[in-house]
């Protein structure tokens, strides 16, 4: 509080201060720039340069092992428009995005509410059990689920048989019609706990006084949830929805290990399709073009995140 008043006072004497501090300020700026320079250089080398280079290379036809590089203008992008697998990959990303937001955020919210105010005992155990899949690496999770989905010895087939249904004849990961949903089950299993923990942290920061006041007014737990909890954690919910959406756009590891994008490209997502083009069929230029589309897609989501997260603060 004292600091803010002091700052205000300093600002009221701007002309004199500015003149007197300019030499020192310039020195501070220089030091500041020098201090951030290593991070800035790394950022430019590892993020900015590859990004612009990818955009540049998307106008060429070349392969990783092929030294011949030919400028082909926008042909890669024109080809993309007619590429059935690209659209399937994009559709799969959107499917993952929509289902992940509904299931992960929906279930995460319910679990967080139950742990926060719904159950009295075993909160720590419930929180830990839900969070365990999050700390496992995606590779370990994918291999574990490969075993669960195994058509001969997998638990998934046994479970389905136990409840009187027929397991899919082509296997959970072998049927082009269901494979993306089989992968989604794994993604939701792994990341719902993560979403739950973030929402739970938000819920636990809501003032108890509000709940006590609502209780005096005779509000039920459900009413408290919809009238106090949800509005109070609005920004947290927006953040987890956007984190989940960005995760869905970037998804690669689970799909790559579980199916490599197969069978017959049925579970291809943008990330695996970029990898497939660059490293399997040696079409790095085309892979760059898909990366540019993915970048635009991610930028739109990033812009959305900025807009949604900034507005409430301005209103406040």
């Amino acid at each position: 509080m004292t600091n803010s008043v002091q700052t205000y006072d300093n600002q009221s004497e701007k002309p004199r201060k500015r003149r007197r501090a300019s030499a020192r300020q310039r020195s501070e700026w220089r030091d500041g720039y020098m201090l951030v320079a290593p991070a800035l250089i790394l950022f430019v080398l590892l993020v900015v340069y590859p990004m612009f280079n990818t955009i540049y290379l998307s106008f060429f036809n070349y392969g990783l092992t092929d030294a011949r590089i030919r400028f082909i203008g926008a042909n890669n992008f024109i080809e993309l428009m007619g590429d059935e697998v690209f659209w399937r990959a994009l559709r799969n990303n959107l499917t993952i995005l929509i289902v992940s937001v509904i299931v992960q955020v929906g279930v995460g919210l319910i679990l967080a509410a139950l742990i926060d105010r719904g159950i009295r005992w075993g909160k720590s155990i419930a929180r830990t059990l839900n969070f365990v899949p999050v700390v496992m690496s995606a590779v370990a999770v994918a291999i574990l689920w490969q075993l669960i989905y195994d058509p001969t010895v997998g638990l998934a087939n046994r479970f389905v048989s136990l409840i009187g249904l027929d397991p899919p004849s082509q296997g959970w990961l072998g049927d082009p019609r269901i494979v993306i949903y089989s992968i989604l089950v794994v993604a939701c299993w792994q990341y719902t706990g993560y979403v739950m923990i973030i929402i739970l942290a938000g819920m636990q920061s809501v003032s108890q006084e509000l709940y006590e006041a609502a209780a005096i007014d005779g509000a039920t737990e459900i009413q408290k949830f919809f009238s106090i909890t949800l509005p109070s954690i609005r920004n947290v919910n927006i953040a987890v929805i956007l984190i989940t959406m960005i995760g869905a756009v970037k998804v690669f590891d689970l799909v790559y290990i579980l199916t490599r994008g197969g069978p017959a490209n049925a579970s291809q997502v943008m990330g695996t399709y970029i990898y497939y083009n660059a490293f399997t069929v040696n079409r790095a230029g085309y892979a760059s073009a898909i990366s540019v589309v993915l970048l635009v897609f991610a930028l739109i989501l990033g812009f959305l995140q900025l807009r949604l997260s900034v507005r409430p603060r301005e209103a406040a």
């Binding site: 092992t65 296997g171 197969g262 399997t280």
Partner: protein, 443 residues
């Protein structure tokens, strides 16, 4: 004082980053003539292999023997599992630091690296070490492009039906002599409550092996030679009805109960386990599994037979072809030590190494003098004899075709097996990709 210290640290940090990001220093030994290492210098060669555990043991033994005989040469051995190998090699080959020596298949897998200029011309070393007099000329030819040798074959791999002799006896089955008999056998086994064949097509290459031999039998070897090399006329490229018929043979096997459920989500490893555990009486697989069968105590308890001939009028190919192909070692033209690399290749295909290959791994050697009929496993002797009776070789489809066409084929096979594409649609997809690549190559 503090500011000076901070500035110094920042300058140092920037310096470190810039040095770390700078290009590597020039290669040592620049003054030396190519291929000759300065006296006393240790020559380190990276060797990459597509290999399993059993084969790793063999390779490590051979490498140890070579290093003992050549103390100035170190071999750094890096084995990779089959599925990751092609991708890893492709990335490494395109880099500034590729492996010096690496495993590769013949066909376009070698051809594309020759076109792109990554391989060392081994012809002078073939003369120096007299490989032409020791190794099979046909297999050396498979690693040659325009009479220039780019790889040294070390083994011939071939595809056979393996069957448990005791299960055949119990079920009253006999080895089929025609494709129709094979279908009937599948139905008999399927009716008994189990799939006739283990089949793991998750990685897609098991399916392409069926299609390789079906294409040869149905479309004929002349058509394949013209289409696979993309030298056929664009109007007729991949239009032979034999390609659709080939897919229909695969469907016929599926309908006859040859395969179980979920083949597109079963890995080759899982399929091998099914066969080893006698959950199926047969497995159509390459000779590379004979080592695993030996490890699982099945030596002498299985029989083998080739894909039987098609007897219908639609079959235009020679019905006495074998599905096979050599595998070999190639050398990067960026290697600092080509002489040392060639020396290792010669050691790798020498008579003692090839004999050990047969005894230790049950692989088929490329030297006739390495097959000792007294000590070799009966299966290996049977394969060696059978390969000699074949009138030609159908080389693996995914190896002989240009990479992107092969990818379309691999996916189309999965889709036909899943019932999401008809044979006609599958062949059309292959033709479209082939036309595209042909046009690109003509530019």
């Amino acid at each position: 004082m503090f500011q000076r210290f901070v500035r110094l640290m920042v300058v140092l940090a920037i310096g470190v980053v810039m040095v770390a990001c700078a290009a590597p220093a020039a290669a040592p030994g620049g003054a030396e003539p190519a291929g000759v290492a300065p006296a006393g210098e240790r020559q380190v060669l990276d060797l990459w292999f597509n290999s399993d555990d059993l084969f790793n043991q063999y390779n490590e033994k051979i490498i140890a023997e070579f290093e003992a005989a050549n103390p100035d040469i170190d071999i750094v051995y890096s084995p990779y599992p089959n599925e990751a190998y092609k991708t890893n090699l492709q990335v490494a080959i395109g880099s500034d630091d590729p492996p010096d020596i690496f495993f590769n298949w013949a066909g376009d897998d070698t051809g594309r690296y020759v076109r792109e200029g990554h391989l060392l011309d081994l012809t002078p070393y073939a003369d120096q070490y007299a490989w032409g007099e020791q190794l099979s000329p046909a297999m050396l030819a498979a690693f040659s492009v325009d009479d220039t040798l780019y790889g040294v074959p070390y083994s011939q791999e071939a595809k056979y039906f393996y069957y448990h002799t005791d299960m055949f006896e119990e079920m009253g089955l006999t080895v089929p002599t025609t494709f129709d008999e094979l279908l009937a056998l599948c139905t008999t086994v399927s009716d008994a409550g189990m799939p006739a064949l283990a089949f793991g097509n998750q990685e897609r290459w098991e399916g392409v092996h069926y299609m390789t031999i079906f294409n040869q039998k149905m479309a004929g070897e002349d058509t394949l030679a013209a289409d696979y090399s993309l030298s056929n006329d664009p109007d007729t490229l991949f239009t032979d009805p034999g390609y659709v018929e080939a897919f229909k043979r695969l469907q016929a096997m599926q309908e006859a109960g040859c395969f179980g459920d979920a083949i597109n989500s079963t890995t080759p490893d899982a399929a091998l386990i099914q066969f080893v555990n006698k959950q199926t009486p047969m497995y159509y697989q390459g000779t590379w599994i004979m080592g695993a069968l030996k490890d699982n105590g099945l030596e002498g308890q299985y029989g083998m037979f080739r894909m039987p001939p098609m007897t219908d009028a639609a079959a235009k190919g020679n019905q006495n072809f074998v599905l096979a192909g050599p595998v070999g070692l190639e050398v990067s033209n960026k290697t600092q030590y080509p002489d040392a690399a060639a020396k290792f290749l010669d050691f790798y295909v020498s008579q003692p190494s090839q004999q050990a290959l047969l005894v230790d791994t049950n692989r088929i050697p490329v030297r006739a003098d390495a097959v000792d009929r007294e000590t070799a496993a009966p299966g290996v002797v049977a394969v060696a004899d059978d390969l000699a009776t074949g009138e030609g070789t159908a080389l693996w489809l995914d190896v002989v075709l240009e990479n992107s066409i092969s990818e379309v084929y691999l996916n189309a096979i999965q889709e036909v097996l899943a019932g999401t594409k008809t044979p006609e649609e599958a062949v059309q997809a292959v033709r479209e990709q082939a036309l595209k690549v042909q046009a690109e190559m003509a530019e």
